[in-house]
Amino acid sequence: MKKVLVLFAHPKFEKSRANTILVNYIRNKEGVTFHDLYEEYPDFHIDVSYEKKLLEEHDVIVWHHPMYWYSCPPLLKQWIDMVLEFNWAYGPKGKALTSKICLNAITTGGSKELYCSQGSNSYTITEFLRPFEQTANLCLMNYRQPFTVMGTYRLTDEQLSEYGSQYSSLIDSLQNEKTVLST
């Protein structure tokens, strides 16, 4: 069974109804390490060597965060800047993350209809997530389609629970996936 690392970044988790429900579905799953970045590093002082060790011990990396201004909260960006070191995560000798599965799990306030060329946000979520995709690619990781919960402002608790169990099943299937040799 693959081990899953959920890197969760939310500066105001206590006020997020959607993420509270989602996280409850996955935080205590077997084989899942739920890593609450804002609680661990409230002063933004990231313990890089500990983070690298965590990454090495896991096979699936999930960047779980709300979309703020078409990107992630600042601490996750800080995490990317600090942890994904040259010649460790990328660069000529940077092979530490090779073949690990990587994906974003995101929540957006706006509904899916707004994220298209006709909508007020002009672009799709996949396009907004390009920087993450390319980050994963540069680190030779296997970037997957994001898990998205969109339009959270208008979702009821029941609907959010439905998303929660989907999120949980997604993680189940990632855990049980057979290792495919990268081509």
Partner: protein
């Protein structure tokens, strides 16, 4: 004219005011000012006071009792117990050594052995009044020197009881008759066998400890409730008087009893009230005492046999200094601390007046010996402050800065950007962090043991009193960018910062403040960079408490930052407001009022809830309202 009480009072006060303020302006200890005032108004110069000087001396000795009570208040019982080794060890060595040498000396100059023994007892004792007043004035109580001096003086207070007990044994005359004529030892226990006496002494010590806990504190509580200020002062005096009375009654030194009483009350909530009440009273009494000592110097005797007196004086000071120096060496004092000790305790103390006059009444001493010894006692008291000054001005600076001279110049030049005053727990943390960035501050500290450690680590350290501009200049203040004042004594902090601001306005001052009131005063003096030691740490603790109660850490960190910002701005706002008269006594109450006011402001602001960032719920609400409006 000299008979009038008012006239005497005017002479004393005027003499004190003029001489002490001149002494202070010259940078000398106030003790010296008082002594000179005494000499001037005494019978041999201006002649304003005559025979009554001696009565005043006895009365003013009570200042020493009050002083020891105050010292006791500063020492918690646990610390006192920790000091037992240095009290017995240093004190024992000092008293035994001095007695032995001076005994031999007086035998050598053909004194009868009994006389020599009594005199050597008197010589072994130093002046608590002079030494402690000087140590206190310079803020040196917390140094190795301060502790050692205090230990020795305390031991002397204890041993004097045995000396007073031993003197009658040397007498040929009837002890009873003599005891009657001596009021201070005429006590209840004279007739009792030794065992009962010891028992009574132990009982009275227990009584003081018990009364402190179960009688005095409840009494003070009741008195404080009345809100009548002078009653607190009256209670403070009552405590000291009663203890002294009890102690004299069982034949113990009142000073020792007062000290014990102080220790017992040191952990009570009235510690500071008692201190602020008795402090001015003590200072005035001690001042009076020093004046009386000055006035009692008998210049007629000196003029009669100047060489004899000069010789004995010199010998005694040398003997005392030598033994003190050896004691310091045995107990591993650093050279500079040892020199301070050596010179500050080299005088004969006020107990000598008691011992000598007691021996005189018992006919052990004759009139001439008595006169000579009294003159010498007063002279040693006057001379040691002068020697101490010579030591501090000319000898110590040479020792204190010896090592920095050996160092290559570039190193010194590099390190002179920042001066750090005070290297205790606060200053050392500052210094370590600066050093970890390659910034080697020039450090000034009062404790030479600390100084020694720092030197070994390669810090540039100057030993000494940072309120002296010459020391700051030696540390390179003229070229410094920043001076960090990290000491825990607000009055000295103010003194240093004011001095630097006046003489070297280009130096940026970064100042440690103890609390809000301290910060107000510094702000009102026009200082900007003020760091309250009680602010950040307490908030860090509060933050962690809330975190353990389930609050999110990142939110807490932001709120702590908000709180600090708010508190700093309210500090600056409140500092501007007039504080009314700065009544020392009611400072505690003022602080409480201040606290109440802050809490009230917090309450009005409500629970901090203005951090609305990343709050999706508020957006949700707006959208919901829009929806509802659209529907209706």
């Amino acid at each position: 004219m000299t008979g009038s009480l008012l006239f005497d009072a005017i002479v004393f006060l005027l003499g004190a005011i003029i001489c002490v303020s001149i002494a202070k302006r010259l940078g000398l200890s106030s003790v010296l000012g008082y002594l000179i005032a005494g000499v001037l108004i005494g019978p041999y110069v201006l002649g304003f006071i005559g025979e009554e000087g001696e009565d005043i001396l006895h009365f003013a000795e009570f200042g020493v009792v009050v002083m020891l009570f105050l010292i006791g208040l500063e020492i918690e019982p646990k610390n006192f117990w920790n000091m037992r080794k240095s009290i017995a060890g240093m004190g024992g060595l000092q008293v035994a050594g001095t007695m032995l040498l001076s005994y031999l000396f007086f035998i050598l100059i053909d004194f009868d052995w009994k006389v020599a023994l009594v005199i050597s007892m008197a010589v072994a004792l130093s002046s608590t009044a002079i030494a402690m007043q000087t140590i206190d004035e310079k803020g040196l109580m917390e140094t190795t020197f301060g502790n050692s001096a205090f230990s020795i003086l305390l031991f002397q207070d204890i041993i004097v009881i045995f000396m007073l007990g031993a003197i009658p044994l040397l007498s040929n005359t009837e002890v009873e008759a003599a005891a009657d004529s001596h009021e201070s030892t005429g006590n209840l226990l004279d007739g009792l066998p030794m065992g009962y006496q010891t028992l009574a002494i132990i009982l009275s010590v227990v009584l003081i400890i018990g009364a402190g806990q179960y009688l005095i504190v409840p009494m003070l509580r009741r008195v404080a409730k009345t809100g009548v200020r002078e009653l607190l002062f009256a209670s403070a005096l009552l405590i000291v008087f009663s203890i002294s009375f009890l102690m004299e009654y069982v034949g113990l030194s009142p000073a020792l009893g007062a000290f014990l009483g102080g220790v017992v009350l040191s952990s009570s909530e009235y510690k500071h009230e008692l201190e602020s009440n008795l402090e001015p009273f003590k200072n005035l009494l001690l001042g009076l005492f020093f004046i009386a000592v000055g006035a009692s110097i008998n210049f007629v005797v000196i003029a009669k046999i100047p060489l004899t007196i000069g010789g004995i004086l010199l010998a005694i000071v040398l003997i005392k200094a030598l033994i003190l120096f050896i004691t310091g060496k045995v107990f591993n004092l650093k050279l500079d601390q040892n020199l301070l000790l050596t010179f500050s305790l080299a005088q004969i103390g006020e107990f000598a007046f008691v011992l000598l006059s007691f021996a005189f009444q018992l006919n052990i001493l004759d009139q001439e010996q008595m006169d000579i010894m009294l003159v010498i006692t007063a002279l040693t008291m006057s001379i040691t402050p002068i020697i101490s000054i010579i030591n501090e001005r000319f000898i110590l600076p040479k020792i204190g800065t010896k090592e920095s001279i050996k160092r290559p110049m570039d190193h010194i030049a590099k390190s002179q950007n920042v001066i750090l005053v005070g290297f205790g727990h606060f200053g050392s943390t500052v210094g370590r962090f600066l050093r970890s960035h390659g910034i080697e501050a020039t450090i000034l500290d009062q404790d030479s043991n600390r100084v020694d450690v720092l030197r070994k680590m390669g810090f540039e350290v100057y030993y000494g009193d940072a309120t002296r501009i010459d020391l700051l200049e030696a540390a390179g203040i003229a070229k410094a960018k920043i001076l960090i004042c990290a000491i825990d004594n607000p009055p000295i902090t103010q003194e240093i910062t004011k001095l630097v601001k006046e003489k070297y306005p280009h130096v940026e001052l970064m100042i440690r403040a103890q609390n809000r009131n301290d910060a107000y005063e510094l702000l009102n003096l026009g200082f900007e960079n003020i760091y309250r030691e009680s602010l950040d740490t307490s908030l860090a603790l509060a933050k962690d408490v809330l975190s353990k109660l389930g609050f999110r850490k990142y939110t807490l960190i932001r709120q702590v930052q908000n709180f600090i910002k708010y508190d700093e701005s309210s500090l600056r706002r409140l500092a501007m407001e007039p504080k009314g008269d700065d009544d020392y006594l009611f400072k505690v109450r003022k602080e409480l009022e201040e606290q109440e006011r802050l809490l009230e402001e917090d309450f009005k602001r409500g629970i901090v809830e203005y951090d609305i960032h990343w709050d999706s719920e508020s957006i949700r609400k707006v959208l919901k309202n829009q929806q509802n409006n659209a529907k209706s």
